[in-house]
Symmetry: C2
Subunit: 506 residues, 2 copies
Amino acid sequence: MKLKARYIDVDTGEVTALLHDFDCAELGLREKDRVKLSLNGKVTVAIVTTSDTVIKRGEIGLMGTSQEIMESKDGDLVDVSAASKPESVEFIKKKMNGHELSTEEITSIIADISSRTLSNIELSAYVTSLYINGMNMRETADLTKAMVAGGETINFNNGPIYDHHSIGGCPGNKITLLVVPIMAAAGCKMPKTSSRAISSAAGTSDIVETFAKVALTPAELKEITERVGGVLAWGGSLNLAPADDLIIKAEYPLGIDPHAQLLASVMAKKKAVGANYLVIDIPMGEGTKVHTMDEAKAYARDFIQLGEELDIRVECAITYGGQPLGRAIGPALESIEALSILEGAKAPNSVIEKTLSICGMLFEMGGEYQGAEKAKQILESGKALKKFQEIVEAQGGKPGITSKDIKVGQYSVDVIAKQSGYVGQILNKALVRVARTAGSPKDKGAGLVLNKKGGNKVDKGETLFTIYSEHEWKMQEALKLAIRLEPVKIQGMILARVPAFSRVAL
Amino acid sequence: MKLKARYIDVDTGEVTALLHDFDCAELGLREKDRVKLSLNGKVTVAIVTTSDTVIKRGEIGLMGTSQEIMESKDGDLVDVSAASKPESVEFIKKKMNGHELSTEEITSIIADISSRTLSNIELSAYVTSLYINGMNMRETADLTKAMVAGGETINFNNGPIYDHHSIGGCPGNKITLLVVPIMAAAGCKMPKTSSRAISSAAGTSDIVETFAKVALTPAELKEITERVGGVLAWGGSLNLAPADDLIIKAEYPLGIDPHAQLLASVMAKKKAVGANYLVIDIPMGEGTKVHTMDEAKAYARDFIQLGEELDIRVECAITYGGQPLGRAIGPALESIEALSILEGAKAPNSVIEKTLSICGMLFEMGGEYQGAEKAKQILESGKALKKFQEIVEAQGGKPGITSKDIKVGQYSVDVIAKQSGYVGQILNKALVRVARTAGSPKDKGAGLVLNKKGGNKVDKGETLFTIYSEHEWKMQEALKLAIRLEPVKIQGMILARVPAFSRVAL
């Protein structure tokens, strides 16, 4: 059937063809079926949406990416015929039925995700099936390889390539800003790619963006790494394992992160930059992704095993993520905290210790002894600061940058203690919500700084944390939320008192 | 945040708000998050889609049902704020994690499906989780009740109400056209609702539509049933258990029909019309939904048990569905076959026998003896034909209708045997694809008539089946497909020959 093209400028996230109900029935099709579109040698398969108002009989509405693919002009006659469901839908059903998938089947699913051939409904069925039925290590390795193959890969002139990654969930984890310059200052190559925040207050790329350009091309990533040793790039512009971004579009609304998919997503991006030595940080504790030591160990074991399949040497650090790392949360505030440490500040201790431990593991994987000691010397010598400034300059930032160059939000308010006692618990997720309400990560100057952390003594009236914002109304909203959620819990030193008579009774 | 309304006339199947990337970030939101919209007292929660081309900063595009709900005019200032995910998403996750859901949780999921609050991604996660993790009988009963509560219910002046239902998968199953007038002629009330074809060649409503109006209101359904005894209505216009149609939108593209959902969908529509005695036909065999006797018995057991929970007496008939019932497939052709039997034709035997058996079961559930014999007498007496004509007239069809009044497609072609032998197998799904390619169910006159069925002797050159179509090109396409798929398989009488020496070896 020939139908007249009409461009409809709405991004459905799918390759969509809008057909009139009548034409649709004429083709024997219904909503969500597939049609093959041909025009001047361009061919694509689109997902059918029907309408009897927007589109007239004899017309086809090209929405989302379908118009780009077909390069159609309004009025072009597009050849439209019924097409069958992509074969990969059958493979998703196979996983639904609890079966192991072959290499070819996994490759087919990832190829169809990457080309946006799968609809949101099919994509959701994929992540749900994977969440429920899982994948074994062979399948996970195939999944990783299929994801790598679908994107850019970067080949450095010579190795080894060092990398680290945190699976996330611990607010304030800004150590990448310290680890990369320390490693690079020691002559190691570390082409670090990071993500922006999805549900956190600041992803590493959001932080780096306060002082440098993060959207690098693959050629820039390679050139800067070869020349300066390290880079702090945003993964999003590099097209590494791009299926991941599309899969996240279905995982995020469901709030799930299937184990095999998490493993594959992390490792695919590392494989794509040719990592040889990789340390994976697994923050554990309330409010993070991993709640028990057993779970953390299972992740560690799987990352190491998957690394073997991919020829990447992996070590894992299970870290305490039950409260924020350091004191600052939010892009500019975290930049300042990290930069201050490079400039010689001796606090916060948790940030420094974690940085040195991770660097130490990386150095030792590369064959050094007393890696953490080496990292400490580089940090204290000022070489790491110098290297950081080189990296920033290479990424288009201010030459000779210091922590004074970073601006925070002009509105701030202290949240104070209503009673004296000790900080018993810090609620990560509540704190992140407060920071996001203050404007983080979009407003770079927004966030918060903790004045008290777990175990600290607090007097009534003392500041627990300070909220920063670029807009007064956002600061007020954040304050209201902070009062409601009470992210910092204060308790007396005695957590429960057992009456004397009951002790006797015991 | 106040944003200027703009209507965008595309039905996304969801309640969609199109926001500019900048405003979206300003609200701290991303794609697929929820926003609360308020305007002149109208409030709804919409799913966020972002754009930086279709929509300008400060504007909000109202797509799908969101404009209808808000009754906005372009330029109206809509109050937009971040909203949280519907709670039911957590309950879907609970099912993903393999847990039993409470009555309230199930009710919440169905309410959010009915109000289109759930996105396609969430809906797909629901059906996928249900497919994998299932529901127990208590959950299934709650699911059924929640589906009934979300729609219209019909209360007859007095009962009992008889009903029957086929779970489908057997082409040519036109017995409803015979069962309803036979039961009604005996003075029983049978307000039968049916569906249109989804993937079959003709749903009962597609067939009935060749001679009567099927889109009745609940009031019409009641009035005709009370006055004439039976009705042949389309379920779609009655708003019975409307969540079902929305759930099918996610099941259909995945080609799944979760057990609990199938049970609930069938029984909700029966409960909504107040059925007391219900016979469920479970066609079994290759090409149907149920492949083994064990599976069929499991369905039967569950339908009966669910009936007990809902106070409906259920009996099940496990029938042979491995080849089409009767000879005709397609709306008009099936009407003619059924009407001919009412007019006195003694064939096809399979249609008559199945009709009399189902009626017999219904009569006996109502307290009669030898129900099938009673049905036979009513059919042969001509009373069923008369009742059929009354029903047709009540539904706006031609008074005194006969099989001669139904028109079939003007183009036809015989598919003949290439060799002599016996019909070994008939491929249901291939036959349905041929009928659909010929234009069925949209073109009412399209379809096919089998001249040979399983076990029949065939001589080379004899007609196997005849394809009918309303368009020559569709007939040609259907013929091409028939030649490629060979839906009727011819074999020699000896199906496999065992060589003499291997028999000796045994």
